[in-house]
């Protein structure tokens, strides 16, 4: 068993959604369902800071139901749904709608609100009204807030509410028209590029605005070496910044696009090997606090468009843990910190998710075999969409059981509803 | 040689293994002389006559015939070359590539054309050549001269002038060159 307090060998007993006992050897006469965890790690459920559930508006790509099933199979017990739905989650009414859908889901569905009305970047959304419903993270994800003055005001206002603004860092004036990382491969393939600097400029700007306002900023899906450096320096300077990185940004590089396979189109785009190494380093040294999937389902039809017309985004929930265990040369404890308790804290879910696995705490658990080998099959995803770039990849580490609020939602790798 | 070269083009591949020398260099030389006389006799002279060698095996033979005709009659007969790759009816069934460029620098209308090839086999190359010739004008007549007629015709085509009638098996290979005519087998280099 591994949680933030350490590693030990123990059995866990759960009743009414709460952990009631943790001991080296529990009484075998206990009534009820028993899950075998031999050879496995028992950990607090994983927490995804960055999930696109697509509902409302894009139900053909994903629904709260299908997305939460994918999450449960990936070992998650909580996901934060991004607000770039149609309509955007920019008011109490839409927040209520998604939370209502989430009550029936297999995992705890939380909501991020938009910073600006309609994510249009011009007018501040009713952050307070949404915060009253428990929304802790706000972002215009899919786009960054371009106007520095507006972002400054949003940070000041959010600081007063005790909520956190999360930024999709992309300077649109520099990135406009781009569809992949600008560099050797974009030049060769004739695809307009997005320079790394489009991201770095906004990371640098928002570090400055965090300093100016004293408000916390969370950086979504960092993808470049310089971005990681800027965040590292900001943290060293004592600023209240946190950051996440997506699995594809520590596993894939821009040459993956060479056959114009739109499954490799994502924003921020896949970068260079140097950037991948820097993201890995950032995850290892604590600069990056969390691995967040940026799970972005798109229908087959949408992805079958020409590369420059296809929407960016890739699936992530069902492969994140295995990619982290396979590709990051980090101890399991540290991988779990990046996937569970650190993101739980950023999402304001500490105490409910991310452990510890101790009596009196919510029974949100992930049981996985860290050595199990398996091959990703894009056609056998729980997600409604198929756009995984990891199809056919051999990975190590597989979720066996997921327990959410005391309910075994995944048993032996099979979703229970 | 055309036949042999075509078989050497991937994906067929193979090595020609000689089995019997059926005509010596002298036999070939004498056959050329005889055919030249037959052409003169049949056409009562050389006016309006042109020779067209089929790429690639018929081209050297057409040239030797021209020299022979010039030696006998003292006049040069126009000689052209024809590649029938684009006219074949077995396109897609086996590799067909133009061996060389077709070169017919004269109008065929009103002329008598003697098509020249090294080996006459199924007749399909000649059928393709007849189609191709039509694109260069309306010849008054077309005659066919070959060094070896090996049988196995698949079309109603027969030669006007033959160096040697050579009974063969269908899977055998005939190689014609200045050194003579050799009968052999194509041994595949891979299954």
């Amino acid at each position: 068993m591994i949680d933030a307090t350490g590693t030990r060998r123990a059995d866990v007993a759960v009743r009414d959604g709460v952990i009631i006992e943790v001991a080296e050897r529990l009484d075998e006469s206990t009534q009820g369902l028993e899950l075998d965890a031999s050879g496995c790690v028992v950990a607090p459920g994983l927490v995804d800071l960055h999930t696109h559930l697509r509902e409302p508006g894009r139900e053909e790509a994903e629904t709260v139901e299908s997305g939460s099933r994918a999450a449960a199979l990936g070992g998650y017990t909580a996901v934060v749904a991004m607000p770039n739905t149609e309509p955007a989650i920019d008011s109490a009414a839409v927040v209520r709608q998604v939370l209502e859908l989430g009550t029936k889901a297999m995992v705890d569905v939380r909501v991020a609100g938009a910073i600006t009305v309609g994510r249009a970047g011009t007018q501040l959304a009713p952050l307070g009204e949404m915060a009253d419903l428990g929304v802790h993270l706000f972002t215009d994800d899919g786009a960054g807030v371009q106007d520095a003055r507006l972002m400054r005001r949003a940070l000041e206002y959010a600081g007063g509410l005790g909520v956190v603004l999360a930024q999709h860092c992309e300077d649109e004036s520099l990135a406009a028209g781009g569809h992949m990382h600008e560099g050797e491969w974009s030049s060769r393939l004739g695809i307009p590029g997005i320079p790394a600097e489009a991201e770095e400029l906004m990371v640098a700007r928002d570090v400055a605005l965090s300093r100016l306002t004293g408000a916390p900023v969370h950086f979504l899906h960092l993808s470049t070496a310089v971005s990681v450096d800027i965040v590292r320096e900001a943290k060293a300077a004592g600023l209240s910044v946190t950051a996440e990185a997506a699995p594809h940004h520590f596993t894939l590089t821009h040459d993956s696009v060479s056959a114009y396979d739109t499954r490799f189109k994502v924003n921020p785009p896949l970068r260079t090997a140097v950037d991948v190494a820097a993201v890995k380093q950032g995850l290892a040294d604590g600069t990056i606090d969390a691995i967040a999937t940026d799970h972005a389902p798109h229908s087959q039809e949408a992805k079958e468009a020409p590369f420059d017309q296809a929407p960016p985004g890739m699936l992530g929930l069902e492969t994140a843990l295995a990619l982290a265990l396979t590709e990051l040369e980090l101890p399991v404890e540290q991988v779990l910190a990046l996937l569970s308790w650190q993101p739980a804290r950023i999402a304001g879910l500490q105490g409910q998710h991310g452990g510890p696995v101790a009596p009196g705490h919510a029974a949100n658990l992930c049981v996985f075999d860290p050595e199990a080998q398996w091959t990703v099959d894009g056609n056998r995803m729980a997600s409604r969409s198929r756009n995984t770039p990891f199809d056919g990849m051999a990975l190590r580490g597989r979720v066996r059981h997921t327990v959410c609020r005391g309910e075994a939602v995944v048993i032996d790798g099979v979703a229970q509803r | 040689m055309a036949e042999r070269e075509r078989y050497l083009t991937p994906p067929l591949g193979g090595v020609f293994v000689a089995r019997a020398h059926v005509m010596t260099a002298d036999d070939v030389r004498r056959a050329v002389t005889r055919i030249a006389h037959e052409i003169l006799e049949r056409n009562r002279g050389l006016s309006e006559l042109v020779l067209i060698g089929l790429q690639t095996g018929g081209v050297p033979l057409a040239e030797r015939l021209t020299e022979e005709l010039a030696r006998i009659e003292g006049t040069d007969v126009p000689v052209g070359t024809l590649d029938v790759a684009f006219y074949r009816d077995d396109i897609g069934l086996r590799p067909v590539l133009p061996e060389t460029v077709t070169n017919i620098p004269f109008d065929l209308t009103g002329r008598t054309v003697v098509l020249v090839d090294d080996v006459l086999f199924t007749g399909r190359t000649i059928r393709a050549a007849l189609n191709a010739l039509a694109d260069y004008g309306r010849a008054k007549a077309v005659q066919l001269a070959v060094m070896v007629d090996r049988g196995h015709r698949e079309l109603p085509i027969r030669p006007d002038f033959v160096g040697k009638n050579l009974p063969t098996r269908r899977d055998e290979m005939v190689d014609v060159s200045d050194e003579g005519v050799v009968l052999g087998d194509m041994v595949p280099t891979r299954p």
Binding site: S186, R188, L189, G190, P192, D308 | R88, P95, L97, T102
Partner: protein
């Protein structure tokens, strides 16, 4: 080879093979009746999502001269206007029966995607900024026809390289055949990275002119002005245009090439376009023969060219 998507797929041998077969078709196109029955019974579809009258006509006449049936899919009057997806369109045409599809699209990579969806051979007739392999082949053929060989020849490609599929294909093709290629353009019209490109680059056209065997002038598109890549067309012409004064500095016998259509007075002066060293109309004529060779090799020969 099943498809012709990129010059990079061909290799030197593949390019040589196509150029050799092209020679036979140049002879065919010179005849009174420039038609052979080689592809009788084959159906070739021209699928042009981006209007290009010259390239489409060149492909279609190549197909017709090979006696193939030609279906022209006109995007402007088709179901595409009613929102049909690329894949649905391609699958519909495939269902009608086709042996090859010639694809032109404004987006890079579309021929690759189409090749995943159909059994037919796919010919890239230009995809976005990416490649235009038959243009590169006809250019190489034209140079060879005039200069004998590309080996060691110095070729400058001048102009909007960044947005040019012609430049990308020609750099690969010319280099494969042994030429020394130099790109000449303002930095705003060069790709962001030239890593892996087998060529040199300079901004000084005048210094290069006296050493050139071939100057290949790219079309300058006026819409570039709106993207702040150039202050004005006049400034472009003054630094990079092939004016009569610059053309006079070319060595005797140097070739002037252009993929067309030309903006006379912008990238090339009218008197240069019409001068004897210019082989632009020869490029167009050879284009049909090259495309005949490509279609014949893909559909007719049963041989492999790569």
């Amino acid at each position: 080879m099943k498809h012709l998507l990129s010059m990079a797929d061909l290799g030197v041998d593949g390019i040589e093979e196509i150029l050799r077969v092209t020679e036979s078709f140049v002879e065919v196109t010179a005849r009174d009746i420039p038609r052979v029955p080689a592809l009788r019974g084959k159906t070739i579809v021209s699928l042009f999502y981006e209007e290009s009258t010259r390239t489409r006509l060149s492909f279609e006449s190549a197909a017709k001269r090979l006696s193939a049936d030609v279906m022209t899919f006109s995007v402007a009057t088709s179901s595409v206007q009613k929102g049909e997806s690329l894949k649905d369109t391609v699958e519909t045409i495939q269902a009608m029966g086709m042996d090859a599809v010639v694809v032109r699209h404004a987006s890079a990579g579309v021929p690759w995607q189409v090749s995943q969806w159909v059994d037919a051979s796919v010919v890239n007739a230009g995809d976005g900024w990416h490649e235009h392999p038959t243009q590169a082949l006809l250019d190489a053929y034209t140079i060879r026809e005039r200069l004998g060989s590309l080996e060691g020849r110095r070729i400058a490609i001048v102009g909007d390289v960044k947005h040019s599929r012609v430049a990308r294909s020609n750099v690969l093709g010319f280099h494969a055949l042994g030429a020394e290629v130099t790109l000449v353009a303002p930095p705003t019209l060069l790709p962001p990275s030239l890593e892996g490109w087998p060529c040199e680059v300079t901004t000084d056209l005048d210094a290069l002119l006296p050493k050139l065997d071939v100057i290949y002038v790219l079309r300058m598109q006026r819409e570039r002005m709106t993207e702040a890549v150039l202050p004005s067309m006049r400034e472009y012409t003054s630094r990079y245009g092939l004016t009569a004064r610059r053309a006079a500095n070319l060595p005797d016998g140097a070739l002037v090439m252009h993929p067309g259509p030309m903006n006379r007075g912008v990238e090339i002066a009218a008197e240069v376009a019409d001068a004897p060293g210019t082989v632009i109309t020869r490029q167009v004529a050879n284009g049909v023969a090259v495309r005949m060779a490509v279609l014949f090799l893909l559909l007719g020969s049963g041989a492999s060219i790569a």
